[in-house]
């Protein structure tokens, strides 16, 4: 079964510094990977996704992620963070429902990014 591991529950960083949020997945089949962001008191919003093709995926708000099949990773990066990037970030992998053809999202436990001045 597909699963996602986000080892860092919280990542503190200073404004304008680079950041990397780690995500590792477990899957024996083709994977489709996603990063979602949840700002305080808001719903989840899609940042970016990898379906196929180029392993470097660019998303909104200056974020990008790189799919690394050999390391089963899909780390999220931003070269320079802003205070407004403070949020919870969730990595997710698609998983096929039992006996069905549809895809559901299986999420990691999330990483809280705390950006301070």
């Amino acid at each position: 079964a597909q699963s996602v591991t986000q080892l860092d529950s919280q990542v503190p960083v200073f404004e304008e510094a680079p950041v990397e949020l780690r995500c590792n997945y477990s899957s024996s089949v083709s994977v489709y990977l996603f990063w979602y962001v949840q700002y305080p008191n808001q719903g989840l919003q899609l940042l970016l996704k990898y379906l196929s093709g180029s392993t470097l995926v660019k998303g909104i708000n200056g974020f990008e992620a790189e799919f690394n099949k050999s390391q089963t990773s899909f780390h999220l990066r931003k070269p320079s963070v802003h205070i407004s990037d403070t949020a919870e970030y969730f990595c997710a992998v698609s998983a096929r429902g039992p006996g069905t053809g549809f895809q559901k999202l299986v999420f990691g436990t999330g990483t809280r990014l705390l950006v301070s001045p």
Partner: protein, 115 residues
């Protein structure tokens, strides 16, 4: 409305009572998902609807949990005889088709507190 709407936004209930949580998906979205978000647990999949049918109920934690969807639109998640461990934020999402090719949009959730 423009987005996924969930009601109520907050619900406090006594242990043993039944609760109903409502989700209004984006108009025209055929796929609807319920997730539960608990502290330190991430998002836990509960159930998926395609139209009015639920091909995957594998995430429902017990038979106290049920969900229905009518008219291919509004969905209700019902928790019977609530327990304290049911306290969580319940999130609903909808997508036009499969999440692979169409984005899943999430509501702001219903925060359920069982006292």
């Amino acid at each position: 409305g423009a987005g996924v709407s969930q009601s109520p936004s907050n619900k406090v209930t006594e242990k043993g009572k039944d609760v109903e949580l409502r989700c209004d998906p984006i108009s025209g979205h055929t796929a609807l998902y319920w997730y539960r978000q608990s502290l330190g647990q991430g998002l836990e999949f509960l159930i998926y609807f395609q139209g009015n049918s639920a091909p995957d109920k594998s995430g429902l934690p017990s038979d106290r949990f049920s969900a229905e969807r009518t008219g291919g639109s509004v969905s209700t998640l019902t928790i019977q005889r609530t327990q304290q461990e049911d306290s969580a934020v319940y999130l609903c999402a909808s997508s036009l088709k499969t999440v692979l090719y169409t984005e899943a949009f999430f509501g702001q959730g219903t925060r359920l507190t069982v006292v």
